[in-house]
């Protein structure tokens, strides 16, 4: 297990380095650079700017400086908003996104897993067919369509819930559902197929022949193993919810990091784009590593892998 985790850890570090390097070189390669304006800047001022941002240093030194700053967790200033740093932007807006994202993760698991179990136990009955039909629809509807539909029906037509703003519980309901739609459907499909597989295993037959009740077989024996694929999906799930938040936060005008990211893409605030990209990547890679860790703890087959090799 230690070797497996070490390997995962090394690829995590490498992945973060790849993203950091990409952001650096993309910043350098951007046409015109971040200081390009419609109006020409006087050369003397340009020289001042370049000196203060060390743009005249050799590329390798700039790269090394950039890496050192990233390690010290200094993502630099915004080029479009005076006096705001990327660090500030992240600490101001990320909590909102985290709250929304966590509730979406929670919702997708708490609906997806039971739906998957029910349809596996009622395989090919109407409950199964209904759940699987809904889940195919769920994975086929992009989050912005889902968001728009919810907004149109519940906010504009019925007037039950607000269509924008943030702060109270009622503001969270629609965005959370919009965000959780896709992962919910996916979790349901995943749980169903792994539950079906587990129910055909020998130890389930043993449990049945011991005369255990259906309840005990499902909850004590089958459920744990059938949730392993769901744990491995947690990484992509969080990634999907994070990128989905760009769309949903934009549509519901939620002051989270996602909406800020889209705004900075639209007004080409390059340092903010790179900073948030780096932050999000760090977050995802770190969470993925935690998921791997959890996975090895849960599944003894992985724990024993080194011994077999």
């Amino acid at each position: 297990m230690a070797r497996y985790l070490l390997r995962r850890f090394i690829s995590m570090i490498l992945a973060i380095w790849v993203v950091a390097t990409l952001t650096f070189f993309i910043m350098k390669a951007l046409p015109g650079g971040p200081f390009a304006r419609e109006k020409a800047i006087p050369p003397s001022i340009l020289a001042n700017i370049e000196a203060s941002y060390h743009l005249n240093d050799p590329l390798l030194k700039q790269y090394a400086d950039y890496m050192v700053r990233l390690v010290k967790w200094d993502l630099g200033p915004s080029f479009k908003q005076k006096g705001r740093t990327v660090n500030e932007i992240i600490s101001d807006h990320f909590p909102v996104s985290a709250q929304l994202g966590l509730s979406a993760v929670f919702l997708s698991l708490i609906v997806g897993i039971p739906a998957g179990i029910i349809s596996a136990l009622r395989q090919n009955k109407w409950q199964d067919q209904l759940a699987m039909f809904l889940s195919v629809v769920g994975v086929s509807v992009p989050s912005f369509v889902m968001a728009a539909l919810l907004m149109y029906v519940f906010a504009l037509k019925l007037g039950w819930l607000p269509s924008a703003m943030w702060g109270q519980f009622k503001h969270m309901i629609l965005p959370t559902i919009a965000l959780a739609g896709f992962p919910m459907a996916f979790v349901a499909r995943l749980t169903r197929s792994s539950m079906l597989e587990v129910m055909q295993q020998d130890y389930i037959r043993t449990a049945k022949s011991k005369g255990l009740s259906q309840r005990v077989i499902i909850y004590r024996h089958a459920l744990k193993n059938s949730l392993i694929p769901v744990i491995t999906y947690l990484g992509p799930l969080v990634a999907g919810i994070l990128t989905g938040s760009f769309v949903v936060e934009k549509m519901f005008a939620i002051p989270g990091l996602g909406r800020y990211f889209v705004q900075s893409i639209n007004n080409r605030d390059y340092t903010v784009i790179m900073g948030i990209t780096f932050f999000d990547s760090l977050l995802l890679v770190g969470l993925n590593f935690l998921v791997d860790l959890a996975y090895t703890l849960v599944d003894p087959r992985i724990r024993l892998m080194d011994g077999r090799k």
Partner: protein
């Protein structure tokens, strides 16, 4: 306790009885078998027909319409669906039906070509890694591990910021990034297949490595590859719509479904039809591909037979 066998108990089998032992039906190949199973799956067949229909309308449709995607009719802006404009008109008075048709061209083209690039890179990478094995495989798979750990959507966004929005650039960005899954599947297939006797036989008669790879290993991995492509196409369409929605899509006046949906979502309060039609187009296409992909997976993967 041995019972003696009496030879007289046995009679020679008559000729016509021998015939009864022969195979009654012509043997079916893997592909015929898969097609037969696919045809039994109504949802997958509906999906297939919807896709064919979509592709045909995307190709032929625009020629049959009296409007162009950029024709503006200022007296008739933001009109609701009518006989004149089936899907209504947008905020510049452009016919939405025609724009959705052109959008189908762009979105479907992105789906197909991005998957084609993924397919090429993934199959080459995976089969080389799997076939050569050993140290080559080890290094190549470590690289895949690292790429797999990198959040790919963020990389696509970075690439699009660098390249500037546009059809060709979206294709390049999506094509360059999402081949990892394909590479892993093909590698797994090749690893299993290269131990088979027919590969040994091919090696014995002196076939070159490339020939074995292209003529034996890749064709025999076709099932999982096709399933992966079918599920990759809607992913690419999804990604493109997502990129368009956050402002990194195809440039005006051409519009993909994602761009149209983005425009529509800004006016959802007053003009819901602007969002409804492109969104419906995206959803129907996704559904069709997902149904077909699921059906193909069940049909092509014998382990799924229940």
């Amino acid at each position: 306790m041995e019972t003696p066998v009496n030879i007289n108990d046995f009679t020679p089998v008559a000729k016509d009885l021998k015939m009864a032992q022969s195979i009654a039906r012509p043997s079916t190949t893997y592909w015929q078998d898969a097609m037969r199973r696919l045809k039994k799956n109504p949802l997958a067949m509906i999906g297939l027909f919807v896709i064919i229909f979509m592709v045909l309308t995307a190709i032929i449709g625009p020629f049959l319409c009296k409007y162009n995607y950029s024709d503006q009719d200022y007296t008739n802006r933001l009109a609701s669906p009518s006989k004149e404009h089936w899907f209504g008109t947008d905020f510049l008075g452009r016919d939405l039906f025609v724009r959705v048709l052109y959008g189908a061209r762009i979105s479907l083209a992105i789906g197909f070509f991005a998957s084609l690039i993924n397919l090429t890179i993934g199959v080459l990478y995976g089969s080389i890694s799997g076939y050569f094995g050993g140290r080559v495989d080890n290094i190549m798979m470590r690289i895949v591990d690292v790429i797999y750990t990198v959040p790919l959507t963020m990389v696509v966004i970075l690439l699009m910021v660098l390249f500037q929005p546009g059809l060709k650039n979206i294709l390049i960005a999506l094509g360059l990034v999402y081949w990892i899954g394909m590479a892993r599947i093909v590698r797994g297939q090749v690893l299993a297949l290269k131990e088979q006797e027919y590969v040994l036989a091919a090696r014995m008669v002196g076939a070159k490595k490339w020939r074995i790879m292209l003529k034996h290993l890749i064709p025999n991995s076709m099932g999982p590859i096709i399933v992966n492509v079918t599920l990759n196409i809607p992913q690419a369409i999804f990604q493109e719509a997502f990129l368009s929605f956050i402002g990194l899509g195809v440039a005006a006046p051409m519009a993909s479904w994602g761009v149209l949906a983005d425009e529509g979502s800004q006016a959802i309060q007053s003009y819901p039809h602007l969002l409804f039609f492109p969104a419906a187009a995206i959803c129907i296409t996704m559904l069709a591909f997902n149904f077909l992909g699921d059906g193909l997976r069940d049909a092509l993967d014998p382990r799924m037979r229940r």
